[in-house]
């Protein structure tokens, strides 16, 4: 029998036989085959981060859970994406995210259009069973057009990545460790004073929650426009060919 070409891998996801390129991740292959894996820090067009852990999957023969967004396919892999254990862990992860910040959906600028809120509904989080931390976090409203409310930040680093990888400005970074971690602009100086920020608004639009928002928008008035990201990625890929 003829062996398949070495850069094509065959594997199983939820019992379904799928084929993939060797450089693809489990998440990419799952999506190509219409298999849903929840994600939050991941956004198409930016490098994967693997931070939110919502895309954790089970792989037969591997003891630990693996994040689908940064795990590459292997020949003969058997992947399970939606076991009761994973469903429970994902709900707990969401509860931890909710408990770690101060997320008050009812008064949030993106209420009804928030990735975190939508996932909580979709994955069946009925309440937060872990203790809330109620951290004291600061707001930076020094920019002319945009504002940052760290109470709603989940540290997905989409803003950091889009600013670095797409805009090329690298205004954003994460400062501090553990529960002290927070996003900063320009070595922790006010956003409005930033020399590097081009005010392009890409960070605001990729932010999954109401942490980054346009000034002048009231509760539930802000929607994020993300069409630019696949467009820019596509155009750049074309140019580099």
């Amino acid at each position: 029998m003829k062996q398949p070409s070495s850069h094509i891998k065959t594997l199983q996801i939820d019992g379904q036989d799928v084929g993939a390129n060797q450089d693809e991740t489990i998440l990419e292959v799952a999506r190509e085959n219409g298999i849903y894996i929840p994600t939050l820090c991941e956004i198409e067009g930016l490098s994967p981060h693997g931070g939110c852990r919502l895309c954790l999957v089970e792989v037969k023969g591997v003891n630990k859970l693996l994040p689908a967004c940064v795990t590459h396919v292997q020949e003969g892999m058997e992947v399970f994406t939606n076991s009761p254990r994973l469903q429970e862990y994902r709900r707990t992860i969401l509860e931890l995210i909710f408990s770690e910040g101060n997320h008050i959906c009812a008064v949030c600028v993106v209420n009804g259009r928030c990735d975190l809120q939508a996932l909580a509904t979709k994955l069946g989080m009925t309440h937060v069973s872990v203790p809330y931390l109620y951290p004291r976090r600061s707001v930076d409203a020094s920019h002319d057009r945009f504002a940052l409310d760290r109470n709603r930040c989940i540290l997905c680093t989409r803003c950091v990545r889009v600013c670095d990888e797409i805009e090329g400005a690298h205004t954003w970074d994460v400062s501090g460790r553990g529960v002290q971690a927070h996003v900063v602009t320009d070595l922790n100086t006010p956003w409005g004073d930033s020399d590097t920020c081009t005010s392009c608004g890409k960070c605001v639009n990729v932010c999954p929650t109401g942490a980054l928002f346009e000034k002048g928008k009231a509760v539930a008035e802000m929607s994020k426009k993300r069409g630019f990201l696949p467009y820019l990625t596509q155009m750049r890929e074309k140019r580099s060919k």
Binding site: I104, C105, A106, V107, A120, H127, P131, Y132, Y134
Partner: protein, 177 residues
């Protein structure tokens, strides 16, 4: 068949959930055929009765009075429903939680007062250090998020429970709706 003994209670919330309850409109008449409202801000009795089948709880637990009330209610209720975001998550009342009670009181009654700045301490309940969702204080049987949950949602929850079934709210309401 005897009627279901039904109660509603209003802790630290804006009464919006109760307004939403009243928004069931003519369906209230239908519900009145099935339940006896034995305690509620909407009816007269001032004492929570000894045995209640179903209680809807609006609001978070914010004061010593709320805490005492909800413990008493839990003890005398078979089925406790957390109604609305304040009750389920703490919601807007919990926005004071990153701050100390003293800071909050000073801000409200001293720093921002234009006339007679003073902290109220007579015949008002004492605030707890932190506003708490109901389930962190007593056991909750059903969570109904929403700010407020719609009349349709409340009607669905009550009629489902009255049929003896467990309501599935996944597609009907969410936090902040």
């Amino acid at each position: 068949m005897s009627k279901v003994r039904f109660a509603t209670v209003w802790l630290d919330g804006c009464s919006g959930c109760h307004m939403s309850f009243l928004d069931m409109d003519e369906r209230l008449i239908e519900l009145a055929e099935l339940v006896d409202v034995v305690y509620s801000p909407l009816v007269d009795p001032k004492q929570f009765p000894d045995s209640v089948d179903v209680t809807l709880v609006e609001g978070a637990v914010s004061s010593d009075e709320d805490l005492e009330k909800i413990r008493h209610i839990r003890e005398h209720t078979q089925y406790l429903i957390a109604l609305g975001d304040c009750s389920v998550t703490g919601n807007v009342p919990s926005m004071r939680n990153p701050f100390k009670v003293d800071e909050v009181m000073n801000r409200a009654y001293i720093e921002n007062a234009t006339v007679q700045p003073q902290i109220p301490n007579v015949s008002v309940p004492t605030l707890l250090p932190r506003v708490r969702p109901v389930h962190t204080v007593v056991k909750v049987d059903v969570y109904v998020p929403g700010c407020p949950p719609s009349a349709d949602t409340i009607y669905y929850v009550l009629t489902t429970l009255l049929r003896g079934e467990v309501p599935d709210l996944s597609s009907r309401t969410r936090f902040g709706v």
